[in-house]
């Protein structure tokens, strides 16, 4: 309209349009920059982890000719499993070393020679004899696991040319090691202990299996408790509960619970489950209970969101046909909401798997060598194992810490990928 005050539309728009596009470009550039910085940090994180950790998947072994002397292993030829299991296999390893270095005679020198081989070597021999009792009496060329001090030197983490005082192996031991290397009797082999072993004071024997089993039991308890409870709570609040001040209060508190620092849940678990209910310390059961407290609000919130996302038309359709409220929920709403609920649950579980602080409070930070047999046996968890190793002084634990983190991240990656797949697979259009 010509009577309209102000400038013409064309003029006004033309003047401002450059500024609008510039703002848009700046905003896009900022977003991209933020993304790149984030990706950079992530790449750096993965690089350091993997660069530090990949060496832990292999370990140094010595090729030694071990004579499986019958008079040491089974003097009475009884083939009794107890006798076989309790024999002094480490002495066979020592004899093999002595045979390889006949010049070494003094007690002190012998002690430092024997220190090159891990105490795990004897255990490997025991396993061999248990597997093949016929090997007794013969001589075998075996790759025996080296001590961690040898391992870090072979891998180059500790250099040989530093002054003797700055390394754990003395010049004589380095000499023996070099001699063995010249005979091609030193090699890096796959580190089996890392995957099947429990924690150990000897880094070369330490593994993540016991922590993995501990984490598994814990997650089992957490899932078994928090999923049904969380889904039931969400269904009740979303579909059945009246909207009043009480339900509002409950809702606010559930949201608050999701934000409570996890260590507080750990203290609660210590006070409630261990001190009042008298459940065992360090047990995955208690860990699972504590993590359930932590995961419940996450699952409830995700499940409620999934329920709200189910269109009301589906509910009306079911009710209009004469379905009861329960039938409506079980037959129609729940199946449609389930992928969302499961996604939330998996993300909650992944968080629980990575949690360590509350577990410190309930004694799951203990030094556990054995693989836990049930949710009641003492156990530790993967992130706590990382924490324990990161705290250990031995150089060989550095790479094991990183390797354990890599394994933990792999588990998390698999779980999150499962959540995404589940969402994609069951995404319904209605």
């Amino acid at each position: 309209m010509s009577s309209q005050p102000g400038r013409s539309v064309k003029e006004a728009v033309a003047q401002g349009i450059g500024r609008r596009y510039r703002n848009e470009r700046i905003f896009k550039a900022l977003g991209l920059a933020a993304l790149l910085i984030g990706l950079g940090f992530l790449a750096f994180f993965f690089y350091t982890l993997i660069a530090n950790g990949y060496t832990a998947f292999r370990q140094t072994r010595f090729l030694l000719d071990v004579e499986l002397k019958a008079d040491v292993i089974d003097p009475r030829s009884s083939r009794d499993p107890v006798t076989l299991a309790t024999a002094d296999y480490q002495s066979l390893v020592r004899d093999a070393l002595r045979a390889r270095f006949p010049d070494v005679t003094s007690r002190g020198e012998l002690r430092s020679l024997f220190a090159l081989v891990s105490p795990g070597a004897g255990l490997d021999l025991r396993a061999l004899v248990a597997r093949e009792p016929n090997a007794i009496g013969g001589t075998r060329a075996l790759w025996l696991v080296a001590d961690d001090d040898v391992d870090v030197m072979v891998k180059g983490h500790v250099r040989r040319d530093v002054p003797e005082i700055d390394r754990r192996l003395d010049d004589q031991q380095v000499g023996w090691l070099t001699e063995l290397e010249e005979q091609s009797r030193v090699a890096l082999k796959f580190n089996r202990y890392f995957f099947v072993g429990g924690d150990s004071r000897d880094p070369e024997l330490a593994g993540i299996w016991s922590a993995t089993v501990g984490s598994f039991f814990m997650l089992l308890v957490t899932l078994g408790l928090s999923f049904p409870l969380g889904v039931a709570t969400a269904i009740y609040l979303e579909e059945f509960a009246p909207r009043n001040r009480w339900t509002d209060l409950v809702e606010v508190n559930i949201n608050n619970l999701a934000a409570v620092p996890s260590i507080v849940f750990g203290l609660l678990g210590l006070a409630l489950f261990i001190n009042i209910f008298g459940l065992p310390r360090s047990a995955p059961l208690v860990g699972g209970l504590v993590l359930s407290l932590m995961t419940l609000p996450v699952i409830i919130i995700a499940s409620r969101a999934a329920l709200t996302a189910v269109p009301p038309s589906i509910r009306e359709a079911a009710l209009g046909l004469g379905a009861s409220k329960m039938q409506m929920v079980l037959h129609h709403v729940l199946p449609l909401a389930m992928p969302g609920m499961l996604t939330g649950t998996i993300i909650g579980m992944a968080r629980a798997l990575g949690e360590s602080a509350p577990l410190l409070m309930i004694g799951m930070v203990a030094f556990i060598v054995d693989v836990p047999e049930s949710p009641l046996s003492p156990a530790t968890a993967l992130p706590v194992q990382v924490y324990l190793w990161a705290d250990s002084p031995e150089r060989a634990f550095v790479e094991r810490t990183s390797a354990a983190i890599v394994v933990l991240l792999l588990f998390l990656l698999v779980m999150n990928a499962a959540a995404i797949l589940l969402r994609k697979r069951f995404e319904q259009r209605y």
């Binding site: 309209m1 010509s2 013409s8 009246p242 009306e316 009710l319 209009g320 046909l321 379905a323």
Partner: protein, 289 residues
């Protein structure tokens, strides 16, 4: 600067009367025309509905007759949907809704304490504005009602119910080879006929339809209208519609609602050719809406 369209107040051609604000009705208004039916299935007497403080419908008396289609028309927000949602107590699902008055189904008060909503909704089915098939197969959509109510003795029985319902809904020939495909994969019109099949599978006494064609194209609409005409031989049907032509085409009786009051009820022919109330006349001639 270029010319823009003239302001709304400018005079326009007489053939398109100006749209006015919805006029008010005085308190204590009494419905014009006969709200009773000669063969009633459902009878509503002095029905009031409140949504919180909002008095959605006021003292409505209306009968739903056997083997006839009654159309409920009126401007948006007049309470026609609210009224039919009272007839199968779907308003119960809205927390703030309160209903008073008496509605009977075959002489039984549906708001009585001993009346079960599950039972009621099995006898008074409903078809909604937007086609809302379950995200299940065509078969399962139709079989759902009979299944939860235990209407079929065995699988063969159920198959027959499903087939009869789909045939009656005029959908059988189109879907008989794709019974296992999801109902959500059908076209909009087919989905709505599937919803009708699902409703009649329970064999209700009354079918309530809340603007069943508003999301459909004219061809699909015509098919639904034909279907409604056939269905009235077996069921009492109450249909809410915004289309005056649709009301005129499918219904035998028409009720005009206005701001929560039932203004006028009568035979459809009378209402459309000879409306007695000024508001009815203004509405059907398009003076407001």
């Amino acid at each position: 600067m270029s010319e823009v369209a003239p302001p709304a107040a400018a005079p326009v051609a007489a053939s398109t009367p100006p749209v006015q604000a919805t006029p008010a009705v005085e308190e204590g208004y009494r419905t014009v025309g006969d709200y009773t039916s000669t063969k009633p299935v459902m009878q509503a007497r002095k029905v009031d509905v409140f949504y919180g403080d909002n008095h959605a419908i006021q003292k409505v008396n209306l009968d739903i007759g056997r083997n006839e289609v009654i159309a409920l028309i009126g401007p948006s927000g007049c309470g026609k949907s609210t009224f039919i949602r009272c007839l199968n107590r779907m308003n119960d699902t809205i927390e703030s809704a309160r209903t008073s008055g008496e509605i009977t189904l075959d002489g039984e008060n549906i708001y009585a304490r001993h009346m079960d909503v599950v039972m009621l909704r099995a006898r008074v089915g409903m078809v909604f504005q937007k086609p809302n098939p379950f995200p299940k197969s065509v078969y399962d959509n139709v079989a759902y009602g009979p299944r939860i109510h235990g209407l079929a003795r065995d699988r063969a029985d159920l198959d027959e119910i499903v087939q009869t319902s789909l045939v009656r809904a005029g959908l059988w020939t189109e879907v008989k080879d794709r019974l296992e495909e999801p109902g959500t994969g059908l076209s909009g019109g087919q989905q709505q006929r599937l919803c009708i099949a699902r409703t009649i599978a329970v064999n209700p006494d009354v079918i309530l339809m809340d603007e069943p064609c508003s999301a459909l194209d004219p061809i699909a609409t015509a098919r639904i209208e034909d279907l409604i005409d056939e269905l009235k031989q077996n069921y009492a049907i109450a249909i809410v519609t915004h289309s005056m032509q649709q009301a005129a085409r499918v219904s035998q009786r028409t009720a005009y609602f206005h701001l929560g009051k039932l203004i006028e009820v009568g035979d459809t022919d009378d209402i459309f050719t000879n409306p007695r109330h000024k508001l009815t006349e203004d509405y059907i001639t398009g003076r407001f809406g």
